[in-house]
Symmetry: C2
Subunit: 155 residues, 2 copies
């Protein structure tokens, strides 16, 4: 396992909702974006294209499973998916539920905010987080079982 | 084929560098980001998780091939990959070469700019664009041949 001193994703301080041998899934604590999640690769790898084909397919599938969980529970207007890593160049994917009334819509969450999201609306979305955690655990346990039975096939 | 009136990605006005039956690849004209590219799915589909498994694997592979082409020619410090689609909810992926001296680094390109990138540096990167177009065509022709011979396998 590759570990880089001082990398905050090698030394993950946030508790994972689900952790497997190769990646973890977390729900980000972002006051404006309840349901914002990440897939974090365990090893210190910089780019998707630095992974083996097998591992890359695994990450793609993990991001897909997370998108499904976020859609199922958070019912967003749109899902945003991104792997940036400019600040922390340790492979991770953002999966962000977006709504017409959120702080930045339709701009990306990294742009300047265009409004303050309504507090009651945010509270209602935050109330879904235990259900989101359950959906993630359920989907990723199932995913892991399927991977063990029949790994994602490189062609 | 699904086509939605008024969708700028259904009615793509930018010439594609490479166009296949299911998606196109374009080089974005962005003065600050030479080498910024997109994979644009042909049908009007909103989310990755609205695709069939076969098509989703195809998109993932296309984004990977584009990342390889961008790394090969543009030699970025980091690659940013994102599917947002809040403004135009027609599936497309951004692949963006990032450098320590670009206008926003380490922030995402959608954040507020932190500097004006050096014009000579940008010009040198722009001079690589014909080579990037060649690399895209070469890689995607090869990818298409391999797909035809042996499609990406759903498990």
């Amino acid at each position: 396992m590759t570990n880089v001193a001082g990398c905050e994703l090698c030394d993950l301080s946030v508790p994972a909702v689900w952790a497997g041998p190769k990646f973890s899934v977390i729900i980000v604590e972002d006051a404006n974006y309840p349901g914002f999640c990440r897939v974090i690769w365990r090893d210190h790898v910089r780019e998707m294209s630095d992974l083996s084909r097998e591992d890359r397919l695994l990450v793609n599938e993990a991001v897909h499973q997370l998108e499904l969980a976020v859609r199922e529970v958070m019912q967003p207007l749109k899902v945003n998916v991104a792997s940036l890593g400019n600040v922390v160049p340790h492979l991770h994917w953002h999966v962000i539920p977006r709504y017409a009334d959120d702080a930045h819509f339709p701009a990306p969450v990294w742009a300047q905010a265009s409004r303050q999201a309504d507090e009651a609306t945010l509270a209602a979305r935050r109330a879904l987080l235990p259900q989101l955690a359950d959906a993630i655990v359920r989907r990723f346990n199932q995913f892991q079982q399927e991977e063990q039975a029949c790994p994602t096939q490189p062609t």
